[in-house]
Amino acid sequence: MSEVKKIATRESYGKTLAELGAEDPRIVVLDADLSGSTKTAVFGKAFPDRFFNCGIAEANMISIAAGLAAAGMIPFASSFAMFAAGRAYEQIRNSIGYPHLNVKIGASHGGITVGEDGASHQCLEDIAIMRSIPGMVIMCPADDVEARACVRAAAKYDGPVYMRFGRAAVPVVFPEDYKFEIGKGAILREGTDVSIIANGLCINSAFEAAELLAADGISAEIVNICTVKPLDEELVIKTATKTGRVVTAEEHSIIGGLGSAVAECLAEKCPTKMYRIGVRDRFGESGPAMDLMHLFELDGEGVYKQVKAFLEA
């Protein structure tokens, strides 16, 4: 897929925020000294009066966003996933989640592809933490097209939303006319032997793995679950019933993220043999993003190998 256009989803975030700023005066954006990296600076340049750099103080930023929302604004608060979901967890839980305020958290640099900065900055737990907050919508877009759609959907939706964006440039997999809806997944490739339910960067890995599996005579169905919460249970059950084997793939800990959400759904409603591909209860480490994807077996080859091993077990 070398000729495919590559864009980091954080770029999509900043660009869409700037578009939304022109459309709705209630949109305000906050950052914590990372506006160049989260790409909120694009909005800040266009709308300096509605952009607040809170400095390196994420807890304060999140609670300020809550106050802005309580006063009728639509704040997007941004930092790295580690410092948004991690450091400011309790502020998100109590100041945003509990009063169900209309705050959007745009967390960039999620997952292992933060790369060289290493484990301290590679947040592999954010989806798990956010998923435990009642009423929180969680989206993990796969590419530029989906990321832009997520940001627009978040702005329209009335309530707290957590969005995870990546640092690394990733292939554009969706067509421009892609229709996105919060809470709705999609079958991206029909298959009969195994379902690969993925999101984020692992959608691309799933496509590569499906090609390799096809060469072995295995027909893999690819299901995109961008909205981890609320989970599209109907689609998860549908694909599980169809193939009878489910593998989840995500750039996140296998504990608490997409894999857990799918496992919880299937265990209760449609017990199915499954395997969770993700980071297996360990911290990350330094290295180039795509080398880490390979090391942690989250790239196409890694997903292929793990699906194969699961089917043969």
Partner: protein, 275 residues
């Protein structure tokens, strides 16, 4: 409203506090009683509010950052006409609008859900910021405990408010000098409170938190300050008005039994007769 009328209301708010925690068999009387005059001043004199127009975008905002003192907030709101006094007895009961810490989704008129210390002041900063963005004239008030000043987030918020010159923000500190584990300067001293806020570009005012003349002066001065947020450090007595609760840290989060309830109400009755 004259000072005597305000004193009478504050005394009624104190009775409300005792009624609430007694019927709940739980709650935080000490830090509610210390702020009875502050709540009364805000809800009867200071703030531009109307219980019949809860969603008025131009209303003044109040965030109880020391959310555990909500028996005092509920008392003042009830006396101001937000709900009937009878509802006070539902405090902390199943299904109540008067949650153990303020919940804006449960009780209309509460501007922010609070309870986790340090977060309310930041939310108040957000409300003040929204007024600036929208060109609205409302002011935002937030009441903090002095023990709460130990939370790092308070100073993140103070740094931001000072740097952004939020002169539509008024921070009030209930300086009763006690927290759960004892005297604040023994546990982990936040003193000198005034110099700390000054260093964060606040205009610092002092008041006797139990004297309406003193409160009137400080709040009036605060409204005149331009280009800086203000903080009013109110010297208060924890448990004020109830003889056996005054200056006793143990009454931070404990309800009186039937006998203690009787004594507390008699204390407040006596004070009421002198007004």
């Amino acid at each position: 409203m004259n000072m005597q009328e305000l004193q009478k209301i504050a005394n009624q708010v104190r009775k409300d506090i005792i009624i609430e925690v007694f019927h709940a068999k739980a709650g935080h009387p000490g830090g509610s009683l210390s702020a009875a005059e502050i709540f009364t001043w805000l809800y009867f004199e200071e703030m531009n509010i109307d219980p019949s127009r809860l969603d008025d975008p131009d209303r003044d905002r109040f965030v109880l950052s020391k959310g555990h003192a909500c028996p005092g907030l509920y008392g003042a709101m009830c006396e101001r006409g937000y709900f009937d006094r009878e509802e006070l007895k539902t405090f902390r009961h199943i299904g109540t609008r008067l949650q153990g810490h303020p919940s804006m989704r449960n009780l209309p008129g509460v501007d922010m859900s609070t309870g986790s210390l340090g977060q309310g002041i930041s939310a108040a900063v957000g409300m003040a910021l929204a007024a600036r963005v929208n060109g609205r004239k409302y002011r935002t008030y937030t009441l903090l405990g002095d023990g709460e000043l130990q939370e790092g987030q308070v100073w993140e918020a103070a740094m931001f408010a000072g740097a952004k010159k939020l002169d539509n923000l008024c921070v009030i500190v209930d300086n009763n000098n006690l927290q759960i584990d004892g005297a604040i300067d023994k546990v982990n001293s936040p003193y000198p409170i005034d110099q700390k806020f000054e260093a964060f570009n606040f205009h610092v005012l002092h008041a006797d938190g139990h004297d309406f003349e003193s409160l009137a002066g400080a709040f009036s001065r605060a409204r005149e300050i331009k280009g800086q947020p203000t903080v009013i450090i109110c010297r208060t007595i924890k448990g004020k008005g109830v003889s056996f609760m005054e200056n006793v840290a143990g009454w931070h989060g404990k309800a009186p039994n039937a006998e203690e309830y009787k004594i507390a109400m008699e204390d407040l009755e006596r004070i009421g007769e002198t007004l």
